[in-house]
C-alpha cells in the first residue's frame, strides 16, 4: 500500500467503477490510453452490487419458486420452501463473480486500479484518499477525467435508511429473511420490481404511491397489465398517498400516510422500503474545485460527446443531466467519452434507448410511443399483437400483455415499441436495432421469425400496423 502523498500522472482518470466508469476505462485502455480507474467502494458500482444484478437474481429466483408453486394446471405439484439466507448467499456469489470479473477485465485491458475516494484539487488533478485508517492518500494528475460517480437513493423526511426497519433498495437486496409485512413507498420501477419479488417470496405487500398509478411515465395500458398482475399476487395499492412518518409498534412499525386532502391512513409493517428515486452523486469529489457546476437538480450537463463545460472533463452515467438513469445508458456514454478522448468519431447519438422493467410480466420499451410520435409531427401507424394469440406464450402459460409497434405511416419507418409480457426485456432488442437501422414495418414483417417464439409477436405487430396480420384481426 502506498502511504503518504506521492504524485503520479495519467492520460485518462475515471472516477467511479460502475457501468459508466468501468466500461469507459476499459474502452480507453483498449485505445491505448494510459488509464486509471478510482473506486471508493466496490467494482461494478450500484448496478452490480446493489442494483441491476442482485435485483434480477432475487426476481428470477423468487419467480421460479412462485411459478413452481402455482403450476397445478400444468400438472406440476410442488410446495417450494424458500431459504432466504441461502438465496441471499447465492445472490452474493453471483455478485462476487461479476465484480471479480470486472476487476480482472480492467487489469487484463491494462487499466490501473486505485481504491479510494477521489476529490478534485483543481481541473488537472485529484487527491485520492485510500480507504481505511492510515492508508494515506495520493495525488493523480490527469489530462482527461471522466466523472462516473453515479447516484444514491433519495431519502424522504422522517425515513432514515440508518434506522433498522427502514430499507433502501440496497437494504432490501441484502435481506436474509422475508418480512411478513412489507410496506413499499413508491411504485416506480424499483418499487414495483421489489414489491413483486417479496410478494412472491411470501410477504404481505402494501404499496403507497403519491401519484395515481404504478410506473409513472409508462402508458396506461402498459402499466395496467403489470398492476393487475401485481394485484393478483396480493399486492395492495394505495394511490394518492404520501408516507408522512412511522413509529415503532411491537416488533414492527406503523407507517402513516396522508393524501393531498389531508386524509390519513396507517399500515403495519415489519419493514418499510423507500424507493422514491435516486439523486446524482457529485458531493464525494468536490466538483467545484475543477470548475464544474452541477445543475439545480445536482446533475452534470454534457454535450453529445459527454464533455462537461470544462472541455477535458467528461461525465457519464447516472450523474449526467437529461439522460435516463440506466446502466446501459451509462455504459454507452462511457464508450463515447473514452472514444472521444481517443480521437474517435464517437457521439451519443442513439435514436432509441431501450429500457426494461423486470416486473411480472416484464416491460420493454424503446423509442417513441404513439403520443410521442404524434407530438414529433409523425402520423403514427400502430400495430399490436396480444400475447394471448401467441403460440409460444400459450405454451409457457404466460399470455398477459402485448407487443406494440409504432411507425411513421408515410415512410413505414419504425419509431418505437412498447412490449409488456414474457421476456419483454429481451424482445425489445430487435426493435431497438430496427429503429437504429432505419428499418420499416415491411422490413420487420418481412424478416422470417422462428416458430414458435415470442419474437414472432414483434413481426405480427408490424404486420398488424400494415393491416396484414395473420394471427390477429386487423383494424
Amino acid at each position: 500500500m502506498v502511504v503518504g502523498d506521492i504524485s503520479t500522472g495519467t492520460e485518462v482518470l475515471v472516477v467511479g467503477a460502475g457501468p459508466g466508469g468501468y466500461v469507459a476505462a476499459i474502452r480507453a485502455a483498449q485505445h491505448g490510453l494510459d488509464t486509471t480507474l478510482v473506486e471508493k467502494d466496490a467494482y461494478g458500482g450500484t448496478c452490480l452490487n446493489h442494483g441491476c444484478i442482485p435485483s434480477k437474481a432475487f426476481i428470477t429466483a423468487s419467480s421460479l419458486a412462485h411459478e413452481a408453486g402455482h403450476a397445478e394446471e400444468m400438472g406440476i405439484h410442488a410446495n417450494p420452501a424458500v431459504d432466504m439466507s441461502q438465496m441471499r448467499s447465492w445472490k452474493d456469489d453471483v455478485v462476487d463473480g461479476l465484480t471479480g470479473g470486472v476487476e480482472k477485465l480492467c487489469k487484463a485491458n491494462g487499466v490501473n486500479l486505485i481504491e479510494g475516494t477521489a476529490r478534485f484539487k483543481d481541473d488537472g488533478a485529484v487527491r485520492i484518499e485510500h480507504g481505511g485508517e492510515g492508508q494515506g492518500s495520493e495525488t493523480v494528475e490527469f489530462e482527461h477525467c471522466i466523472v462516473a460517480t453515479g447516484s444514491r437513493p433519495i431519502q424522504i423526511p422522517g425515513f432514515e435508511f440508518a434506522d433498522d426497519p427502514i430499507w433502501s433498495s440496497r437494504d432490501a437486496l441484502a435481506a436474509d429473511s422475508v418480512p411478513d409485512e412489507l410496506v413499499v413507498v413508491g411504485a416506480g420501477y424499483i418499487g414495483m420490481e421489489l414489491s413483486t419479488t417479496f410478494a412472491k417470496l411470501g410477504s404481505d405487500v402494501t404499496v403507497v404511491e403519491m401519484l395515481d398509478d404504478v410506473l409513472p411515465g409508462y402508458e396506461d395500458d402498459v402499466a395496467r397489465v403489470v398492476r393487475t398482475h401485481a394485484e393478483s399476487l396480493g399486492i395492495d395499492f394505495h394511490f394518492g398517498e404520501g408516507a408522512s412518518g412511522w413509529s415503532p409498534d411491537g416488533d414492527g412499525v406503523v407507517v402513516e400516510t396522508e393524501t393531498e386532502d389531508g386524509e390519513t391512513a396507517s399500515y403495519h409493517a415489519d419493514k418499510v422500503l423507500v424507493a422514491v428515486g435516486r439523486s446524482p452523486v457529485t458531493d464525494t469529489l468536490d466538483v467545484a474545485n475543477a470548475g464544474l457546476e452541477p445543475n439545480e437538480n445536482g446533475f452534470l450537463e454534457t454535450d453529445d460527446r459527454m464533455r462537461t463545460d470544462v472541455e477535458h472533463i467528461y461525465a457519464v452515467g447516472d450523474v449526467v443531466a437529461d439522460s435516463p438513469m440506466l446502466a446501459h445508458v451509462g455504459s454507452k456514454e462511457g464508450i463515447v467519452a473514452a472514444e472521444h478522448v481517443a480521437g474517435e468519431p464517437a457521439a451519443y447519438d442513439a435514436q432509441a434507448v431501450p429500457a426494461a422493467v423486470f416486473t411480472d410480466p416484464e416491460i420493454g420499451t424503446v423509442g417513441m410511443t404513439e403520443a410521442e410520435a404524434e407530438e414529433a409531427g409523425f402520423t403514427p401507424a400502430v400495430g399490436q399483437m396480444p400475447f394471448n394469440a401467441s403460440g409460444r406464450a400459450m405454451t409457457t402459460g404466460h399470455t398477459d400483455g402485448f407487443v406494440r409497434v409504432v411507425a411513421d405511416e408515410d415512410s413505414g419507418f419504425v419509431l418505437g415499441g412498447q412490449i409488456v409480457g414474457p421476456e419483454a426485456s429481451e424482445l425489445v432488442a430487435e426493435l431497438a436495432l430496427a429503429i437504429e437501422m432505419g428499418a420499416t414495418l415491411e422490413d420487420v414483417a418481412g424478416t422470417i421469425h422462428t416458430h414458435p417464439t415470442l419474437a414472432e409477436a414483434v413481426m405480427e405487430a408490424a404486420e398488424n400496423a400494415q393491416g396484414q396480420a395473420i394471427h390477429t384481426l386487423n383494424r
Binding site: 454534457t302 468519431p345 447519438d349 408515410d410 419507418f413 437504429e436 432505419g438 420499416t440 422490413d443
Partner: protein
C-alpha cells in the same frame, strides 16, 4: 445529453453510417437519403462528403420520407442500395446475397 446532430429530429441512418458521417464531417441530418423511404446510406454520406454542399439540403424532417420524392426514389433505391453494398464486399466472389433489406428487395421486384 445534448445531441447536436439529432436534436431537431429523428435521423434515419444506421449507427455505422452516422459514425462515418462524423468521421467525414458530414451533418447526417442534412443529407438527402436515397435508401428506402429516404434512409441515409453509406454512399449518400460519402457523396455528401465529396460534394461538400450538404448544408444546403435542409433539415432532418425533409430528408426522410413521404411524398412523391420518396416514392420516386424508391425505384432506384433498391438498385442503389444493392450496388453500394455489393461494392463494399467485392472481395466476396460468388456471393449470391444482395445486401438489401426486405422492403428494398420487394421494391426491386416491383
Amino acid at each position: 445529453t445534448a445531441e447536436t446532430e439529432t436534436s431537431s429530429g429523428r435521423v434515419f441512418a444506421s449507427p455505422s453510417v452516422r459514425k462515418l458521417a462524423r468521421e467525414l464531417d458530414v451533418d447526417v441530418a442534412a443529407v438527402s437519403g436515397t435508401g428506402p423511404s429516404g434512409r441515409v446510406t453509406e454512399s449518400d454520406v460519402r457523396a455528401a462528403a465529396e460534394s461538400d454542399d450538404e448544408a444546403e439540403t435542409g433539415g432532418p424532417r425533409e430528408v426522410s420520407f413521404s411524398g412523391e420524392s420518396a416514392v420516386s426514389k424508391r425505384g432506384d433505391a433498391g438498385n442503389g442500395e444493392v450496388s453500394s453494398a455489393a461494392s463494399a464486399s467485392q472481395s466476396a466472389a460468388g456471393r449470391e446475397k444482395t445486401l438489401a433489406a426486405p422492403a428494398t428487395r420487394r421494391v426491386a421486384q416491383e
